[in-house]
């Protein structure tokens, strides 16, 4: 119990915290995915990868975030540099639940013209977290 407290206190203050938060964010999507789809089993990095590069019209997530999410991306309309999306290259990614949710909402809307499902979000995260 004491260990757990120390661990969570550390998690809040050290870079280690990013990892703990990523797990929390993904677990929240898992709970929501089960609600949305009773047949849901687990997230899949393979599905996430396909989702990442699938074009809808002429845009994919990869259009701005780059063919490799470990490298810098570039905003398709404005040309602005975008930091890597893979946590192995940019530790802060997927560690702030409200930031993650804000950008899923915006970018799914822009690319797919609809909201993403919790399963899609979790798959997407699973793919990015799997990149070493």
């Amino acid at each position: 119990m004491k260990k757990l407290l120390i661990a969570s206190a550390l998690a809040l203050s050290l870079p280690l915290g990013a990892v703990a938060n990523q797990i929390q964010v993904q677990e929240a999507y898992r709970a929501a995915a089960k609600q949305e789809n009773p047949g849901f089993k687990d997230f899949s990095a393979t599905r996430g990868q396909a989702f990442y590069s699938a074009k809808s019209g002429d845009t994919a997530c990869a259009t701005c975030h780059g063919d490799s999410p470990k490298a810098h991306g570039k905003h398709a309309k404005t040309g602005k540099d975008i930091l890597p999306l893979a946590p192995s290259a940019n530790a802060q990614r997927f560690s702030d639940a409200s930031k993650v949710e804000k950008w899923f909402k915006r970018n799914c809307n822009d690319v797919l013209k609809r909201a993403c499902t919790s399963e899609e979000k979790g798959d997407f995260m699973a793919y990015l977290l799997s990149l070493k």
């Binding site: 404005t78 909402k105 915006r106």
Partner: protein, 164 residues
């Protein structure tokens, strides 16, 4: 008889000069502010309005333009840039407070690049049309391509570098 005419002439000439000197009238009232950006900026604005493009300095547009832009963020130049109500209020208030203080026209364009001052400063005499098409520039709104200090509100003429 002669003196009153001369005086009248001198008076009207100086009135004209005063008018031309009044920056607000130089671009039919569509003038950018001075300063363009206060030394202390708002962190939310920097973060939220600087994620897809350079955060555009508040003095580049009048308050009415910022109000319109902030009211339509869900359909923002083809992008969804929506914010929650609290963030929106905080950023709107800051932009409005530091908006152009020399704007006199009633027009409130949504684009900086549509303002009279911008078009004059970036007309074909200053920048050849081919320059705008270069991949490194791509869009007129890509201020950073030529003004390296754009994110700090620095557009000084002496620090402009046009990419090849």
């Amino acid at each position: 008889m002669k003196t009153p005419i001369v005086i009248a002439l001198v008076l009207s000439l100086s009135a004209l000069a005063a008018q031309a000197g009044e920056h607000g009238d130089k671009y039919a009232g569509e003038s950018r502010g001075k300063p363009l950006q206060p030394a202390q900026t708002n962190a939310k604005w920097q973060q939220e309005c600087g994620s897809c493009h350079t955060a555009f300095a508040p003095g580049l547009l009048p308050a009415a333009s910022w109000r319109k832009i902030m009211a339509g963020l869900d359909k923002h130049f083809g992008a969804d840039a929506s914010l929650n109500a609290a963030e929106n209020q905080e950023i709107t208030a800051w932009l409005v407070e530091h908006a152009s203080n020399r704007w006199r026209a009633s027009a409130a364009p949504l684009r900086i690049t549509d303002t009279a001052w911008f078009q004059r400063k970036h007309d074909a005499h200053e920048i050849s049309p081919a320059v705008w098409k270069r991949p490194a520039v791509k869009s007129r709104a890509n201020c950073q391509a030529c003004h390296a200090g754009a994110d700090k509100g620095d557009f000084n003429e002496h620090r402009i570098r046009i990419p090849k």
